[in-house]
Symmetry: D2
Subunit: 366 residues, 4 copies
Amino acid sequence: MSGSTIGKNFTVTTWGESHGKALGVVVDGCPAGIPLCEEDIQRDLDRRKPGQSPYSTPRREEDKVTILSGVFQGVTTGTPISLIIANQDQHSKDYSQVAHVYRPGHADYTYHHKYGIWDYRGGGRASGRETAARVAAGAIAKKVLSQLGVRIQAYTLSIGPIKVNPENFDENEIYRNPLAMPDGEAAKKAAEYIQQLKEKGDSAGGVVECVIQGLPSGVGEPVFDKLDAALAKAIMSIGAVKGIEFGRGFEAAYLTGSQNNDTLVYYPDRGLTKPTNNSGGITGGISEGFPIVFRAAFKPTPSIRMPQKTVTHDMQNTQLVLTGRHDPVIVPRAVVVVEAMAAITIVDLLFQRILSRIDLIKKALS
Amino acid sequence: MSGSTIGKNFTVTTWGESHGKALGVVVDGCPAGIPLCEEDIQRDLDRRKPGQSPYSTPRREEDKVTILSGVFQGVTTGTPISLIIANQDQHSKDYSQVAHVYRPGHADYTYHHKYGIWDYRGGGRASGRETAARVAAGAIAKKVLSQLGVRIQAYTLSIGPIKVNPENFDENEIYRNPLAMPDGEAAKKAAEYIQQLKEKGDSAGGVVECVIQGLPSGVGEPVFDKLDAALAKAIMSIGAVKGIEFGRGFEAAYLTGSQNNDTLVYYPDRGLTKPTNNSGGITGGISEGFPIVFRAAFKPTPSIRMPQKTVTHDMQNTQLVLTGRHDPVIVPRAVVVVEAMAAITIVDLLFQRILSRIDLIKKALS
Amino acid sequence: MSGSTIGKNFTVTTWGESHGKALGVVVDGCPAGIPLCEEDIQRDLDRRKPGQSPYSTPRREEDKVTILSGVFQGVTTGTPISLIIANQDQHSKDYSQVAHVYRPGHADYTYHHKYGIWDYRGGGRASGRETAARVAAGAIAKKVLSQLGVRIQAYTLSIGPIKVNPENFDENEIYRNPLAMPDGEAAKKAAEYIQQLKEKGDSAGGVVECVIQGLPSGVGEPVFDKLDAALAKAIMSIGAVKGIEFGRGFEAAYLTGSQNNDTLVYYPDRGLTKPTNNSGGITGGISEGFPIVFRAAFKPTPSIRMPQKTVTHDMQNTQLVLTGRHDPVIVPRAVVVVEAMAAITIVDLLFQRILSRIDLIKKALS
Amino acid sequence: MSGSTIGKNFTVTTWGESHGKALGVVVDGCPAGIPLCEEDIQRDLDRRKPGQSPYSTPRREEDKVTILSGVFQGVTTGTPISLIIANQDQHSKDYSQVAHVYRPGHADYTYHHKYGIWDYRGGGRASGRETAARVAAGAIAKKVLSQLGVRIQAYTLSIGPIKVNPENFDENEIYRNPLAMPDGEAAKKAAEYIQQLKEKGDSAGGVVECVIQGLPSGVGEPVFDKLDAALAKAIMSIGAVKGIEFGRGFEAAYLTGSQNNDTLVYYPDRGLTKPTNNSGGITGGISEGFPIVFRAAFKPTPSIRMPQKTVTHDMQNTQLVLTGRHDPVIVPRAVVVVEAMAAITIVDLLFQRILSRIDLIKKALS
């Protein structure tokens, strides 16, 4: 493996360049017996699709998924599920502008120096477009989780300086406004903010929050494969993410033990409860059986139309003014990518959890 | 694997409970031909050792390491290096107090529910003591990196509300004060802060910053094994860490693209430069050849002497007042653990980098 | 992973059912900088293709490969190479005959009981057709090896009782006769033998021998990833293979140490030599730098037209008389599959060999 | 990993040189809740121990195992089980004889060329002594299997030309005679044969057969992780093994389809039956639910006292006459090593089998 595969028992391998013939993913380790059709996957792909709002690139990518294997008579067979997404837009662009210049904030320079060869067309493998394959695999992971009562939901918590007001939190709003914010007012303000940046040819970043419900306790492996460590890797592997935190996160570093420890209280009627969830639902790297909460910080889209200093491949200083279509903010489209990566990670560790107790193994094989 | 192994080509497997007979680590994939002796490892273990300051537990752990295999005539042989650290302190404690109660903020509850059995002696496998094995493996990883010109240095950036003042930054201070802070004044203030908490029976958290110098560009694999994703997993796998960020990190989410993008400038005499390092030395998950910078947030030590509400194994509400010896802050002792996990991760991806180009492979085999 | 991926650094993931829309493979870990085009792969696929002789099924499978990613301007980029082969023949058959009956010698029963669901169309994932994807990946592995001076050649050593006569060994014959036998006379006799079985509706097995030349010493990892162990797994993973042996193989069990040990002799002009190669070029699981030789035993094709006793899915005893097109022998078509699996395995361990010595690592990174 | 780890979910990592301080193994992925004590492991170690018959080296190795972690109050905790075996005999030998000469049939040459450094003391890591760690891990794997009704038994099928007569097969004999042969007469003849070779300073090889009973159908993963492929790797990783075959094995290559196919017959009283077991209990790489049968060919012990031609490290031709204590045959001691490697492999794939069906996963988690 050289980085394009994630997971141990539920394994996801993505392939494809932004402007190659197609991109796709192979999911190996999806259990047999799960109803699956292309619509199940298309639904999430459409949430990631660009051109749906003034705040995302007008590029028309159909992003239509086809299931090539692993499903028979509408049910998964236990063999690898191969998904392919054709690249519609692949010849629509002239790359002469970026063929010899390193775009600031992009992976052009690092890929070129790593491999000695660089598919400059739209960022090649480093393009955000690769996440379409992740979303497709994530939709399968969510199908598995739905069979086991686990639900994952992400949303935009902030865009630039505009934050969701917890008092206005409304789950339905997430699907109502194009910014996937659970607060209509904040979404309006954020839209205006993005509009201003767009006019300047600048871009915005933001924070995505993700909540996982229904996950039983005991998920996550000790030491190196802790649930939070595995989620951190999966989420940090999304190109624009620069940080991740669980529960109180960085704030916890400023609290005292007596402020930060979650206490446990038992009620005969409600069972075990936690008045606070500073841990974000994970202790010692293992799920507590309470909701899991984490946040990921997305840097602003590096593609901006404002002039930028940079160098050419032959180390000439130059100024780059990008033309063409770019997202002034990618955060809303990244929400479903965060859900996908979380789902893929959770399935893998949830399966592993079965193997940690001989009584569960006996029950399964009995 | 069930979580106790990390790495693909340079593989580290730790074992051992806090109060078992011993703990240790097996390092497989350490190249042959590297001079290695127990002192090389002991040096780092001593930095983690408790009882060195009023701000860490007075527990006496000798933490003496023994090399059991993989070294012949003072040089690594390329076969697994097995290290063992005997547990001195293993019978010095009475656990009746915690045998049937879940300590808030500890992994007692999650381990018990995951495995159905729970080694309550000092936290068993979930104990911070497990990190001694990581530090030992990290010392070997650092030996490998030193052969390749890579240097890793971590330090305490803040303890509770007390932060290092960048203007006072003095590398030598890191080794001069018991809190591993590169700012003598801040260290003094932090010491007073901890002293107050200690008297109250409370504890503090903090932030550790880590800088990696001399790493060539091209290290890190696309998509899922990005350098920052791999580091995030490795660092988040340290028990008390609740968040990690690279370069500007969470701050970047509030900036615009024009503020956050690092520009590239070439000078004939100095070569390629970056006036800013908002990226933290990583773009598209691959090292740029500039310094790598990340920060990890540590929660306050959960073991506090103040009374805490919790439940017993049989779900009786109770109040726990921990006695015995506890660190009011573990951040300074964790600094070398962060270095260890970073070193282990970097070695693995640096090796992988060779395999990404046929010209490097030919050079090696020629 | 659930079995469809092989390799650690050079990783091959195949997908696809015999009669699904397509089958394919993703190769991750192919180094950047290797010239690669579809013809390089098609050449080997054509060697596996059926319908080329009276001794293989007349099924028309075009088996045309398309490169979907990982190659830019005719050169590998270091990112995953995705290959796809459309299934031409997918609707040409009526499966009512086998939809409810377990074919003797086939995986119908075991797959059905493993997964609870069974794609009976042509054997689904268990079909020999899956090996087309391996051959495609193997062609890429051979391209890598050719850059490093390693050459792999397999051929038919025997079909049923008809064996190649070592005295007649002629490498060119391998490509001249349809049975890939390096002995024209033996090939004629084997052809007659197969013809007789074909008329009876029966089938034949055989032995494939493989020789690897130009592999340097030091390839193979101690203990569990020995070169012969890794090759054994890769070759045994070919459906019809029931045994594998290296050098003298099973014969060695009947010899004495003095008969079986290979002696080493040094000549100033020829360097180090081995008068015998009973070891098959591997000692302690590591390549000696002498030719590697192994043999794989293939069982006779289980699909025969003679009546066979078996049971239906609902455990009714029945007699099955298979109709339709079947290979009376698959050994000649399997020769290139053996080469492919050997190549994939060798590339992975050859890469690993670089990482076993710090001097090689320094050389590569210098 | 560099070869010292095997297994995906049940992972075994061995370490230690023949004449270092100790050798050992870490087992990660052993489920919680299994009673385990040192005696469980010692029993198998004693079966491997030398010095028990005139046909094995008189070396005194106590091979006493100590459990260092992973067991609490007599039950496995689900965390890594670390086992250590001290090397008693480590200083009892003078190596000047072999320090500069490559022993024919041994790994001296290949290890030296792979690593550039070579622990010549008794073969270092390549020593058969490493298998003690495998046997210890295998004993744990057998404990897991015994909880699931799976039984593994290996025995000596032949030593040199002396074969077990199937008509004399007596299971109890395996433990009665020092050669682990299920045929007392054959054992007598084999003993005489070995005695003659011993007097000449020569050695013998042999074949070990292994039978696995009680394994349910559906174990083994498609394509690359087939049950027979995984077993082949595990068994071929035993130093002296030169070949492996399943069921009819190499013989099958000479049969016709109608002779080799196993037919299925259902009896209301006995259920599904197979009059023959040519497949060795595996079809398409997946267990059928019938007994698994395989054979491994062991080469004769390379250490012989007869004079042998070889070269020194500086390529001088020389003659080597080994002195000291050597096994004239290692096959009987290898029987328990074969059982261990089979057990380790079966546990891993049996666990995996649970994850291949959503209904089994639901059952386990319900």
